[in-house]
Amino acid sequence: MEKARISSLQLFLLITGFLFGSTLILNPATGAKNDGWLAILIGGAVGTLLLAAYASIALLNPSKTLVEILRDRFGKVIGNIIAILYIWYFIHLASLVFRNFGSFMLTTTYPKTPLEVIIAVFALVVMYAVNSGVEVVGRMSEILVPFVPVIAVIISLGILTVHDFTAFLPVLENGISPVIKASLNLLTFPFGETIVFLMIFPHLNKRENLKKVSTLSALSATGLFLFIFFRDITVLGSHLIYQATFVPHLTSVLIPGINLEPLFNVNLIIGGSIKVVICMYAAVNGLNQLIGANDYRKFTTAVATFCVVLSIWVYENIFEMFDWAENIWLYYSIPFQIVIPLMLLFLSLIKKGNPAHEKSIE
């Protein structure tokens, strides 16, 4: 493992940036129409718990990455198989984010540019970041991530004159089930994806802060989601928010007098790049550990190329992307995000309670 260290603040910003990531383009909470805020609250609360669980796994297996934990807890063979699945999952996640990013750019600003070009150029930047190592990624987050809330606030201030505070009403018009569905989506869409951070957690310099940092970042991300949702719903109304393709983008276009679209794109690039960088870093590092090579940088180019190709090939069109994100991703993710981690937590707890057992295995 790389001997780099990141500070608590850097980890906080990384997780927050990761959670914003593509959520700025696709907001799963919109499935619940004007009750989205309820979905965000529920999803956020459960998501925070989930992150705390991931942090506990990391704390119970100090300075070990996901691949090593899997090997330790499930034995070498099963552990390696699950690790391969996880690496696939990270690569898939990275390509989905690439595609989200590319489709968004294509739809909103660059209708004539080929999708491949946009994604490939983006991938070059991401590769540079990944090869620079986790320490540099941490430092980069300190400069970039603060832009996200600042830009969100700027857009909100610009739109201050357009609002309708009754848009929330009536509460629970369609019953509770769309809310539950949306919050489940939200749980697996940004929050559960933080399972990637099990590859980053061992780099934290002060381990005692891990739980605090991860829950705090989940909470602040929830706060910003709520803020953005309130802004969007007061501006767009419940009907439009359900129909629109890219909700926050539509909001930013509505600012009277000036078009802040580029500002929004910058926001997206920051969030998106952090998310892809972390996924890619986790994937190449996992691959590196799985094979037992000495330098993860050897894999970056290959994995990045694969991601670019996969991201173009994975959906036929943008509607398939939305459909996948809303209906399939949830079930595809549950084993990776909830089932296996909970098993890991359980096994780790048992091993911890019975240290003699641990020794006999070794």
Binding site: T109, Y110, I118, E135, R139, I143, P262, V266
Partner: protein, 527 residues
């Protein structure tokens, strides 16, 4: 392949030096003065500036002394007054016939009236002293020679540097003479903790290079690292600190300066007091300081002499200028060729009117104008000053006014290049980096609009985060965030509120920061 070339270069430089005197092993001084004379004449053959004078005195010429020096390098008056005359007087008046060893001792201890007398034992050292401007006395029958420091003052007077102008504060700048520079520093920091470590670099030039720091304030690790890197330098010549800078820098492939340089004494002293290490070099007024961080580029010495409010405002302004000079032409190109919708309606009419009849695309237009500006600037720098001014007038009028009238460039483009040019001069340490980055942003903007600009910007930020200067992250204190050091970043607090020294210089990765409070340092130095 690079390695091969490197090896060949190294072999080549070694071969050059085989027959020079310096690579040989030190040979002891011959006791016989005739032999010394012979060797010296051999070594200094065809050196017309080499002078040697033999003094023969005492009874029946038993005392024989050889004085060797380089013409013009030593002060002849002082040499005569301090060395030659006392010797002649002493041995002519007193009727003494001493043994050779006694003569040597006598000359060393009671005859020469100069303060700076040293001894050398080998011929090579003696030759080295002669070529560095000292006078060397060889006494017949003695196995060592005397070196008398009678170097004549060389070079110009201390004056205000042209390159760094400040509105307020001391106007003294460094000069080419190392000794003068050291005095200029010592004069401002009156403590024995101020250390000057001397060494000679350059196989041919044997330049005096001096590492300067304040013990107890500078991070020992950094001092050690500087020492290590400076000692590793192998090369024929060190003509300027720029040579040293290129040898010791952490990242050789970067546009950004990771080693700082200055010509101003007060600025350098302030850097030393912050815990930085300076490297002085004989023969150049430029002194380099390490570690050099990004934030130092927008700091000026004026900031500290004026009220913190104005200083903070100026710093934000400077940073803004930096952004503008990098991004403005690219933004313009992106707006005009990709994002018409972003431009407010009234402006777009003006813009369309000004671009009417221009044969070039905005990108070509921008590249042409910016290249023209860079050419003008370079020509202005290289020309003698009076012609340089004429050149800038011609450039401004002909290129600005006439190109618009001729329909080659749009009015707006001229305005944009002008603003860019003005802004690029606001942050002098980054002028070169900005010059190239501007083109990178322009090209990106031409291909991908704002997306391209953002991606290049992110790349530059990653690059900046990657950089380290002597182990200290280049973007500190912004990233990694060091809260207490933000006091001297974009927002500056008044001098009386700066209680602690910069912590960033004491950082070991992010693992834990060791900051030292000012009081603690004082305590250490008192002990």
């Amino acid at each position: 392949m690079f390695r091969k070339i490197k090896r060949r270069l190294r072999v080549g430089s070694q071969q050059d030096n085989i027959d020079t005197i310096y690579t040989g092993i030190d040979e002891p001084l011959p006791r016989n003065i005739e032999r010394v004379k012979e060797r010296l004449n051999e070594i200094f053959s065809e050196c017309s500036d080499y002078i040697q004078r033999e003094i023969v005195c005492g009874e029946d010429g038993s005392v024989r002394i050889l004085v060797s020096y380089i013409e013009g390098f030593v002060d002849k008056k002082i040499l005569n007054q301090d060395v030659v005359r006392p010797i002649l007087d002493y041995f002519s008046s007193a009727e003494r016939q001493d043994k050779a060893k006694r003569v040597y001792q006598l000359i060393k201890e009671c005859i020469i009236s100069n303060n700076e007398v040293r001894e050398v034992e080998s011929l090579q050292q003696a030759v080295y002293k002669i070529v560095s401007g000292d006078a060397v006395l060889f006494v017949d029958g003695s196995k060592s020679a005397l070196v008398v420091g009678v170097k004549a003052p060389q070079g110009r007077q201390v004056e205000e540097p042209d390159t760094e102008v400040s509105i307020r504060g001391p106007r003294e700048g460094f000069v080419e003479n190392l000794a003068t520079n050291m005095v200029l520093i010592r004069k401002r920091i009156k403590t024995p903790n101020l250390k000057f470590e001397m060494m000679q670099l350059g196989i041919q030039t044997k330049t005096d290079v001096c590492i300067c720091y304040i013990k107890g304030i500078a991070n020992e690790e950094i001092v050690k690292e500087v020492r290590k890197r400076v000692k590793k330098i192998r090369g024929d010549a060190i003509l300027d600190t720029g040579y040293i800078e290129q040898y010791i820098t952490d990242n050789r492939l970067t546009l950004f300066p990771v080693v700082g340089n200055s010509e101003k004494c007060d600025k350098l002293v302030a850097k030393l007091l912050e815990g930085r290490v300076a490297i002085l070099c004989d023969g150049t007024p430029y002194v380099i300081t390490v570690p050099h961080l990004f934030i130092e580029s927008i700091q000026t010495s004026d900031d500290y002499y004026d009220h913190a409010f104005f200083a903070s405002f100026m710093r934000v302004l400077r940073f803004l200028a930096l952004l503008i000079s990098n991004l403005l032409p690219a933004m313009y190109v992106a707006l005009v060729s990709f994002h018409h919708t972003v431009i407010p309606f009234k402006l777009i009419i003006t813009l369309a009117a000004s671009r009417q009849g221009i044969p070039f695309s905005p990108f070509v237009e921008a590249i042409l104008m910016i290249t023209a500006f860079e050419l003008l600037r370079e020509a202005g720098v290289r020309m003698p000053r009076p012609i340089g001014q004429a050149l800038s007038i011609v450039g401004a009028i002909v290129l600005g006014e006439a190109s618009v009238n001729a329909g080659i460039a749009s009015n707006l483009m001229v305005i944009i290049v002008a603003i860019t040019a003005i802004c690029s001069f606001v942050v002098p340490p980054l002028i070169r980096a900005t010059m190239l980055l501007r083109f990178a942003f322009l090209i990106a903007a031409n291909f991908l609009g704002f997306l391209g600009i953002s991606l290049v910007a992110v790349t530059v930020i990653i690059h900046l985060c990657r950089l380290r200067s002597f182990g200290i992250p280049y973007m500190a204190p912004l990233s990694p965030l060091t809260a207490t050091d933000l006091k001297d970043s974009f927002i500056m607090v008044p001098i009386w509120a700066m209680i602690t020294r910069p912590k960033i210089l004491f950082q070991e990765d992010t693992r834990g920061t060791v900051g030292i409070k000012r009081q603690e340092v004082d305590k250490i130095s008192e002990d």
